[in-house]
């Protein structure tokens, strides 16, 4: 395609009343361009398990029902993981916060939810 043809095409778009620099954007984004969507660091589908990571240190909680099952199988009611060793969880939280991981992921620990 020659430059001349490109210009013609461009002119045709203008003739048709179409703004060539315009992208297909939502009305809100056009009105408030700085509020345009962005991709959060953590995908939505992973957030529930990440939240448990921050709160328990592991993916699953150990509640009364699990404790009962464990006892039936002849085990201690709570496993010797961060479920019992709270210091281990505190260390993990310290790393998550001070290495900037929690902040970048947008997790608000006081509210227990992600900012975005």
């Amino acid at each position: 395609m020659s430059n001349q043809e490109k210009i013609k095409s461009w002119e045709k778009l203008l003739d048709a009343g179409i703004k060539v620099t315009e992208h297909n954007q939502a009305e809100d984004v056009k009105k408030y361009p700085l509020r345009k969507e962005f991709r959060p660091v953590a995908p939505d589908i992973a957030k529930a398990s990440l939240k448990r990571d921050f709160e328990v240190g592991l993916v699953y909680y150990v509640g009364d029902d699990v404790e009962q099952d464990r006892a039936l199988c002849g085990l201690d009611r709570k496993p010797p993981t961060a479920h019992v060793f709270k210091e281990a969880l505190e260390k993990k939280r310290k790393i998550l916060e001070e290495a900037g991981i929690m902040g970048t992921l947008g997790f608000e620990k006081d509210k227990g939810k992600f900012k975005y």
Binding site: V59, Y60, D69, P80, A88, E90, I95, L96
Partner: protein, 301 residues
């Protein structure tokens, strides 16, 4: 109470720290108990890796940020170093996370420095003095198949399908061969199917739940149903989580009920070593009660 003869010979002076992970303590207490019965029976210096946290699953953390995955996984490695134990994983996901993290840090001093800068914030340090082993490796390489065969006093006359899981194929066919050989030592008949190497679909679940359940794990469970086998044996807790999820979803969404019990490799070993199902709570807290399997084992048919 248990049947059979106890074997108390130490296999080596290695101290093993069993890494429970997230799924096993919450959903598979029978597997946790059976693993300890088997390990002690074989004379291993086997205890929990205490203070453990999520491995952390690379499918999520490494995908988000590889440096974060290295940092958080290193907390478990540093714990193992402090406790002077070799980490033992039976969940393939935990194994791959610990193993690859350790390898990467051994090969990249700059990453190790970065990890230690982060660990230091919690008063921890990693010197790369620990080792990571799969439970299959401990049994086959450290204990040996001859000693395992010798410990079998109650050969299991049952037909099973088995699922080794993708991450156990990291070292080609090494771990799958260990898995099969040890299973055969218990006396079970392994039924081969075209779906044996199919992924359980756990990680696919994050992006496409429908295919993950109905085209991956579903194909395996349907095959088990059609072949009328006695049990589906696995070793990976991550895969078990997916099996359990599939059983529930199939029942709710399709009205299909699976009756093939999903059992852990250690449970079969414990039974073959002479332990009774009640010694490790085999009948409790599982989506498919292994009632028929237990009955068959008791009758010895």
């Amino acid at each position: 109470m248990r049947m059979g003869t106890k074997t108390n010979t130490k296999s080596s002076s290695t101290k093993y720290g069993y890494f429970l992970g997230c799924v096993m303590p919450a959903k598979m207490p029978w597997a946790e108990k059976a693993t300890f019965l088997v390990s002690k029976h074989l004379g291993l210096d086997f205890d929990y890796l205490k203070e453990s946290l999520c491995c952390v699953r690379p499918g999520v953390w490494k995908a988000i940020n590889p440096d974060w995955w290295l940092t958080l996984t290193s907390q478990n490695l540093a714990n193992a170093e402090k406790q002077n134990v070799v980490i033992v994983d039976s969940c393939n996901g935990c194994y791959i996370s610990h193993y690859e993290c350790l390898q990467e840090l051994k090969e990249d001093p700059e990453k190790l420095e970065m990890v230690n800068r982060n660990l230091e914030k919690a008063g921890m340090k990693l010197a790369l003095k620990t080792d990571v082993k799969h439970f299959l490796q401990v049994l086959y390489e450290d204990v040996g198949i001859a000693r395992i065969k010798k410990a079998v006093v109650n050969p299991l006359n049952i037909r099973i399908m088995r699922h080794i899981g993708c991450h156990a194929r990291k070292h080609d066919e090494r771990f799958p061969n260990y898995f099969d050989e040890i299973l055969k030592a218990t006396g079970v008949e392994i039924v081969d199917t075209p779906y044996d190497k199919t992924c359980c679909g756990l990680l696919l679940y994050f992006s496409d739940p429908n295919s993950s359940i109905f085209h991956r794990i579903g194909a395996k469970m349907q095959t088990a149903k059609e072949l009328n086998i006695d049990a589906y044996a696995l070793i990976c807790s991550g895969c078990y989580d997916q099996f359990e999820r599939a059983v529930k979803i199939y029942k709710e969404e399709k009205g299909i009920v699976f009756e093939t019990p999903i059992v852990h490799f250690s449970e079969l070993l414990a039974l073959a070593f002479g332990y009774k199902p009640e010694d490790f709570g085999m009948m409790y807290c599982r989506p498919i009660p292994p009632t028929k399997l237990i009955q068959k084992l008791k009758e010895g048919k």
